[in-house]
Subunit: 98 residues, 2 copies
DNA sequence: TTGACAGGCAAGTCCCCACTTGCCTATAAC
DNA sequence: GTTATAGGCAAGTGGGGACTTGCCTGTCAA
């Protein structure tokens, strides 16, 4: 029906959006690091497995890329898939040039 | 938790995205007009009530504005709420200037 | 005024998805 | 080797949302 449903599904969840906020503020965090931050700063008592599943959805949507290193797995944000949204439905009066 | 969950909920559904596509192609359609187009061009056999509920969600998200005229109700798309998405998670290397 | 047309409202059903629970694998420190 | 740490896998559960069904309101033409 349409191009990438995974993208919209990914940003459709509030917890995943907060995860993207976290990775925007500090890129390349591990799973436990993200868990800790969500609990501390945002007060959401999500379990580790919940966050792990969220990250899997974000990765499938191409919004997060992972990099393994030893027993750590670092998560990097990639916002480029979001471009397809504003390309699909052009925003009237876009991009105030700097 | 975050600003406007209604926006993400609105674009989270595939049928609603097709409705936005329809209104992008031809703005100011009525409910029955949209129903007909979705059935013809996209082959989705959604009922009138279903589309009506979808339009309500889109309107609540600010993506669609309505204008009554007699017994008709015209639906107009407004993509400006989408701007908050790319502002929240800036896209690296944005806006290729024309 | 009667009928057709455009749309609204509300209750009910069904299914997807977020989250949990429990256990397992692998890397690193001791 | 043993223990702790970082993460993965799979089945089960519960709630929200998409969709239906049925009926009602308002507008226009005959």
């Amino acid at each position: 029906m349409d191009a990438d449903p995974d993208l919209f599904k990914a940003i459709g969840d509030a917890t995943r959006r907060v995860i993207l906020d976290e990775l925007t503020e500090k890129d390349g965090q591990t799973l436990f690091e993200i868990c800790g931050r969500l609990t501390m700063k945002h007060g959401l008592g999500s379990s580790r497995q919940a966050i792990s599943q969220h990250l899997a959805v974000l990765e499938q949507a191409g919004l997060v890329h992972t990099r393994r290193q030893g027993r750590y797995k670092f998560h990097h944000i990639d916002t480029s898939p979001l471009r397809s949204i504003v390309e699909r439905w052009p925003i009237h009066g876009e991009a105030p040039n700097p």
